[in-house]
């Protein structure tokens, strides 16, 4: 008898819909509206590489020791340097980083003795060509500039 009444009054359906509407509460919305709402990634996030510059002098922190290039499993870092005849020290000239082959393992930043190379929280790395994925020194120092959308 109760079974019949349950069927007549669609009790099971209502119970099911209760669960459905329970998840409609704003508290349970997990979707991020991506270009408008940018996710805040963790502090340790391993994203786009950056070559740090000394904020006081504007000079690069990199000492051209080549350790990052040796540590990289994909061998995608090429460090160019030349010896300054006056100070007898190696100075950085070029620095290329092939982001298209990078797997963001973080071994290069571990290897860096002066914290010059760092993987940052920037994660928008798309570009229109493969050449655009090969970053030179200027790009590494300035960081990627993803398009910002204003709605």
């Amino acid at each position: 008898m109760t079974k019949l009444l349950r069927k007549i009054f669609l009790v099971d359906l209502i119970e099911g819909l209760k669960v459905t509407f329970h998840y409609q509460r704003p508290k349970y919305i997990y979707t991020e509206q991506y270009p408008v709402e940018r996710p805040k990634v963790a502090e340790r996030y391993r994203g786009a590489p950056r070559l740090n510059i000394n904020p006081d002098t504007g000079e690069t922190l990199c000492i051209a020791c080549n350790l990052c290039a040796l540590a990289c499993p994909e061998k995608l870092i090429v460090v160019g340097s030349e010896r300054n005849e006056q100070t007898r020290r190696k100075e950085l000239t070029t620095f290329t980083y092939d982001v298209s082959r990078c797997m963001f393992c973080g071994l290069c930043e571990d290897a860096c003795p002066v914290d010059a190379l760092e993987l940052t929280q920037d994660f928008e790395l798309a570009s229109y060509s493969r050449d655009g994925q090969i970053w030179d020194r200027q790009m590494l120092e300035e960081g990627p500039r993803p398009t910002r959308y204003n709605y």
Binding site: V41, A42, R44, Y45, R46, P73, M103, F104, L107
Partner: protein, 355 residues
């Protein structure tokens, strides 16, 4: 069937011999995702190879990293300090939950239940957030280094882990409420893809599939590593060795994983996080095999060292590849629709099958 078929969990191609809807025989064509990981290992130094192992079983990258690090540590004859071991256990068990959640979602999706996929992704997100905060990556984590850990715990790690521990059991109950008693689910699962304990041993099947057949074998208990002997947990087993039992075993394993994490996070010992290892890893001549209980089964790393900077030979024993070999045994005599359920129940990751 495949390699583009969505239910093959990647790029698996299965040649089916059919009589109408009945499967007379199957043949797997693997290798679409072959990247030659073992060969890459021979051309990289020991530290450099560590990120590559994450890319084999990408659903359980942390477990892969643990197995590799343990193998190299065995070669070097060192052991990670207690604090590192406890953190390793926490992260691998979190990864076990994440891997089983993804398995549940995709497996349910394969047999026609769409809701669980969204549910499990929601909870998996919480676990991946912990990984992101801890080591900076969500999927291919590269969380462990040879000899211990690189990253110390971030502030609030314990709180986050405990929150997941509190979150998971009611959510697992919720999934079970959806699926366990569901008539369609039972109809698709029961007596499908039966493997007897003898079959499992003959094919070398390990992990939840072996336990569902009723064999109480778990490497965490049989050959404890990374301090697993300190924690209390049960080995869930099934009785019939069918797809339904494998589902129940995995659900119970998630609960047990929560239990292990609770015990581990309560008493993370203080101390250093890395053992004393040289900066340039150059193990002595020798060989080492270490196997761990990955979410999918026994994951083994066999490394031969010739005393140089790079391994002489590196071999991986992937659980997915070995378990996949039992597909023919399970699918013979079943219907085509059951093949989808059976592939799902093996819980393969093609990155690991093809390597």
């Amino acid at each position: 069937m495949g390699p583009q078929h969505p239910s093959t969990h990647g790029v698996l191609r299965v040649i089916l011999k059919l009589d109408g809807e009945k499967v007379l025989g199957t043949e797997c064509v693997v290798g679409y995702l072959h990247r030659g990981v073992e060969k890459i290992g021979e051309n990289r130094t020991y530290q450099q190879f560590a990120p590559y192992v994450d890319r084999m079983d990408y659903c359980a990258a942390v477990s892969n990293g643990l197995g590799y690090c343990l193998a190299v540590e065995k070669l070097l004859n060192t052991e990670a300090p207690p604090r590192a071991q406890a953190v390793r256990v926490i992260l691998t068990e979190l990864n076990r939950i994440a891997s089983h959640l993804l398995w549940l979602g995709t497996h349910a999706l394969d047999v026609g239940a769409i809701t669980p996929l969204f549910y499990v992704m929601r909870e998996r997100e919480e676990i991946l957030n912990i990984f992101e905060k801890y080591c900076g990556a969500r999927l291919t984590t590269h969380a462990f280094r040879i000899g211990g850990l690189l990253y110390g715990l971030y502030e609030g790690f314990e709180r986050d882990v405990k929150a997941v521990c509190d979150l998971m059991p009611p959510k697992i109950d919720e999934y079970e409420e959806l699926l366990t008693g569901n008539r369609i689910w039972i109809g698709r699962m029961k007596r499908v893809g039966v493997l007897t304990p003898e079959d499992c041993k003959a094919y070398g099947v390990t992990g939840p599939m072996l336990r569902a057949a009723g064999v109480k074998w778990d490497l965490r208990k049989a050959q404890p590593y990374s301090g697993y002997e300190k924690y209390e947990f049960e080995i869930p087993t099934g009785a019939h060795g069918d797809t339904y039992d494998r589902y129940l075993v995995r659900m119970e394993e998630m609960r047990q994983a929560v239990r292990i994490i609770r015990q581990a996070v309560e008493g993370i010992p203080e101390g250093p996080i890395t053992a004393k290892i040289p900066k340039v890893i150059k193990p002595p001549v020798g060989e080492a095999y270490v196997s761990i209980e990955a979410p999918k089964g026994e994951l083994g790393y066999y490394i031969v060292s010739d005393g140089s900077l790079q391994p002489y030979r590196l071999r991986v024993r992937p659980p997915s590849f070995v378990n996949l070999q039992a597909l023919d045994r399970m699918a013979r005599g079943a219907l085509v629709a059951d093949v989808v359920a059976i592939i799902g129940t093996i819980d393969i990751v093609l990155g690991e099958v093809d390597r």
